[in-house]
């Protein structure tokens, strides 16, 4: 069995299990990173999104063999950043969180978007979170929170 090496939330890790294992399951079951949510397991909901080499990816659609040498950031790792604090505050102030199940994916989708485009338009925000479903908020509060974070976090992204 091949070993794979990757970085998870800043720490070097080695995985020696079956390379066809699903990243989502490994993150939740082996690393107990339960902020990564399992919603649909078919790429439709975005609740399991993580950043792989700075890009937003659904961890349910990734087998472990595909991340050899990659850097993974889950919501638990992103939580430690200044950028997270700005998004956290904006989401809280604008009630962009209700049940919270989509929130980790939404926040990472926002981070992926703002990293590439620090001052997006409303339409660009909607495209940025278009793969993340939310059944509570109706999206407007989330879109407004991301726009607010973009303004208030000026210089962070």
């Amino acid at each position: 069995m091949e070993k794979i090496k990757f970085k998870l939330n800043g720490k070097d890790e080695i995985f020696e299990g079956d390379l066809s294992s699903r990243l989502l399951d490994v993150l939740r079951d082996d690393f107990r990173l339960t902020g990564v949510k399992c919603g649909c397991k078919e790429g439709e909901c975005g609740a399991c999104a993580v950043l792989i080499d700075k890009k937003l990816v659904n961890s349910c659609m990734v087998a472990m063999g595909a991340i050899d040498g990659s850097e993974i950031i889950s919501i638990e790792g992103f939580k430690e950043t200044e950028r997270f604090k700005v998004l956290d505050r904006a989401f809280a102030e604008l009630s962009a969180v209700q049940c919270g199940f989509c929130t980790p994916g939404m926040v990472l989708a926002a981070e992926a978007l703002l990293s590439e485009n620090p001052h997006p338009t409303e339409e660009e925000v909607r495209i940025g979170i278009s793969g993340n479903l939310c059944r509570c908020t109706g999206y407007n509060a989330i879109v407004n929170a991301i726009l607010k974070a973009s303004k208030e976090g000026n210089g962070l992204w």
Binding site: C60, M61, G65, A66, G128
Partner: protein, 273 residues
């Protein structure tokens, strides 16, 4: 079950595929992982640099099979009509990992990039330890979920011409804006030479077992001026209407027929025919 492998380069990938033909080529995983196969043996190809990247050579654009849709969208070389289709594929997280090889590798007539490849007469390069084959895309698709790929081969490259048509129209009809599987997809391309039609390419995706393109029907308008083509327009449209046998799926065959013909007529009208 032989287990999964992460080859270090293309040669190793081809050697492994020759030795263990049951290995399933794994590109971006966005389709494969949804299948949820039991104890699969994957051949991980997504990080092989030899199979990635986009380059322009000699009037042609070569797209490495493992290039992701996001990478293609960021490339100044990829033609706008391809980008029009790519930007409507799923959502950012899927475009970040989904690849050109994966999109055609499952043999679906709904593959959004495949429609553009049909319209542009793309050539698919497949390789094995025995050598390389270059297959026109219309021959590569043999039927529903059935492609011309031998068990020791992998898809390595997609080549499209670097053309700048006078007019084109790409339309995707889906149930929603994002994360939508095409119910009907249309591509029309019109190239003029002085005042005559040099080429016209009309392709329909997601409406049949394979993508539909009738080159013999297209010939009806080649060499004509737009005025002359207008006179033949009804006959041209009828040829499609008569010939297309569309499949029932998420939407009815009747709906598909009506919309495909409407899209064809719109394309002709907007193209000045």
């Amino acid at each position: 079950m032989v287990g999964s492998f992460i080859p270090k380069n293309k040669k190793e990938a081809l050697d492994l595929k020759a030795k263990y033909t049951e290995l399933i080529p794994y590109s971006g995983g966005t389709d494969l992982m949804v299948e949820n196969r039991k104890n699969p043996s994957y051949l991980f190809l997504g990080k092989l640099n030899e199979l990635k990247g986009i380059k322009k050579t000699d009037g042609k654009i070569e797209i490495g099979a493992e290039t992701t849709f996001t990478e293609a969208l960021e490339s100044p070389i990829i033609p706008q009509m391809m980008k029009d289709a790519l930007i409507l594929i799923a959502a950012p997280a899927i475009r970040n990992t989904g690849t050109f090889a994966g999109n055609i590798g499952n043999g679906s007539a709904k593959a959004d990039s495949a429609l553009i490849e049909y319209g542009l007469d793309a050539v698919i390069t497949v390789e094995s330890v025995r050598g390389e084959r270059n297959i026109p895309i219309e021959d590569f698709y043999l039927g529903r979920k059935h492609i011309d790929l031998n068990e020791d081969e992998i898809i390595t490259k997609i080549t499209i011409p670097d053309i700048h048509p006078d007019f084109y129209s790409y339309e995707k009809v889906g149930g929603r804006k994002a994360l939508a599987i095409s119910r009907i997809a249309f591509l029309g391309i019109l190239e003029m030479e002085s005042d005559k039609i040099k080429s016209i390419s009309v392709s329909f995706g997601a409406v049949s077992e394979k993508i539909i393109r009738y080159k013999d029907v297209e010939k009806m308008l080649i060499g004509l001026t737009k005025e002359e083509a207008k006179a033949k327009k009804d006959e041209f449209v009828k040829a499609y209407e008569d010939r297309m046998q569309l499949t029932e799926g998420r939407v009815s065959a009747d709906y598909r027929k009506k919309v495909t013909i409407k899209l064809l007529k719109e394309f002709l009208k907007n193209g000045g025919i």
